[in-house]
Symmetry: C2
Subunit: 278 residues, 2 copies
């Protein structure tokens, strides 16, 4: 499978980088995007061997990677569910697409589909920002089902590794709970901080912590609205916990309980250090 032809549906930042990295790793890569300009740019950059006129034409590939916006993923998969190809996607929320696969009337898709989510990205989307090394060193979560053919999982894991990422397997439900805290809440907080900075005379005096905490604060609004819609339940749980804990902190500070403030930072330092040792 490591030298098989790979199809990529959606040639934005993620799909473009998948194509670029797989091409560099020696795979023949075919591509499709609803935007002709993105297809031309991917060809011009040498990320693709050919483009195809319809996404269903990619059904002839050994593996197809679907990298379209979250709310378009199921539609894109549906165009390929009858083909014999192994299918994977890159959507940031895994339960909705998995539910669709579980309910599919096409038996094959339940054995050939492997949900995926690369834990890498940039502040800006689009093929213009794509790069073959985007996924190097990044985790890439795979969410196979009970019904998934182990050979399909192995094939997708091999592709992920040829992009320099390391595959991590978990259930779709565990994935969505994890990214609610590890990605979705951080994006909400970063957006909050950059918006609040408008109240200052001069936000350019922020140091490294400000730069880091706000790097993703300008993330793409349509994409992030879709992500939060699809993962609303898990994000609400995380927001409620965050609001509770932040209110506790605020009240401790308000009543000059600096011992409670100190414990907050001690607990965080312990958590940070134990994460480092994991």
């Amino acid at each position: 499978m490591t030298t098989g032809t790979v199809g990529v549906v959606g040639l934005g930042l993620i799909g473009g980088s998948v194509a670029a990295g797989l091409k560099r790793a020696g795979h023949p890569v075919w591509g499709f995007d609803t935007d002709d300009a993105a297809m031309r740019e991917a060809l011009r950059r040498g990320y693709l061997d050919q483009v195809v006129p319809r996404p269903s034409d990619l059904g002839a590939c050994d593996v197809v990677v679907v990298a379209v916006p979250p709310t378009k993923t199921i539609e894109a998969l549906a165009r390929l569910e009858g083909a014999p190809t192994i299918l994977t996607d890159c959507t940031s929320v895994k339960v909705p697409v998995t539910d669709w696969v579980r309910a599919s009337v096409v038996d094959g898709v339940r054995t050939r589909f492997v949900g995926g989510h690369p834990m890498a990205g940039l502040e800006n989307g689009g093929i213009a920002h794509a790069r073959p090394d985007l996924f190097e060193g990044a985790p890439w979560i795979l969410t196979p089902l009970e019904t998934t053919d182990p050979r399909a999982v192995d094939a997708v894991a091999a592709l992920v590794q040829s992009l320099g990422a390391h595959p991590v397997t978990m259930s779709p439900e565990t994935h969505d709970a994890h990214v609610a805290l590890l990605s979705h809440l951080p994006h909400v907080l970063a957006a909050l901080l950059v918006t609040e900075a408008r109240t200052l005379d001069d936000s350019s005096v922020g140091g490294g912590s400000w730069r880091d905490l706000t790097r993703v604060g300008g993330a793409e609004p349509e994409l992030w609205t879709q992500i939060l819609e699809l993962n609303a339940r898990e994000v609400l749980l995380r927001l409620d916990r965050a609001l509770d804990r932040l209110l506790d902190f605020r009240n401790a500070l308000g009543r000059n309980d600096f011992e409670a403030i100190r414990r907050w930072f001690v607990e965080a330092r312990e958590a940070k250090e134990s994460a480092r040792c994991d």
Copy 2:
């Protein structure tokens, strides 16, 4: 003044890096720390020309940089207020030390003291992490008073520039309001995120946004408790605003008002883009 002797009180991450950078820039540098091991290490690294037995001995220097923990700053300044040297500090909160200077019975200190705050740091403190380039490219806020001698401001600004930082002048009150949002709230949020990650099976699957948002999540508890104590009023204002806005967001998500969610991200993107153009 650019070739004058500089004294440094406190040889931790900040003081050690100040000494290292000024020595590299050609200044004679004298140092003091209550910890003999820190003084020995600073000498061993070539950051100092000599150490002195008492902080008051640094009164013979042209400029003294006080870089001790926030709650020790006033005590350190008091040991030097009678000396003819220009004085600056590096404390993250400027109103308390400025109030002390304003109330000093020593006239000279009101003309010779220039409050300062380098907007740079690392997750870990101590001379072991000090480096001559720590401040390169970073803002360094100066908070002179109405009574401050302009020549003292110029001298401190020149030192800051010789460290590769760029001086920015604002009032102590404006400074404290700015850092409440630009530094103190981000540290509280980063600590919240790393602590919450303990509820996950595997927080190592976080991507770049997680790494950035939590980099300072393990910041030094004693230092940060002092900072929040000294700037409690401004941090409370920022926490209350953040709690209000986050609750609005939570409620919009809870009632499936995705138009409000989209507006949140649109507003953040606009704020991020306008900050980039400043």
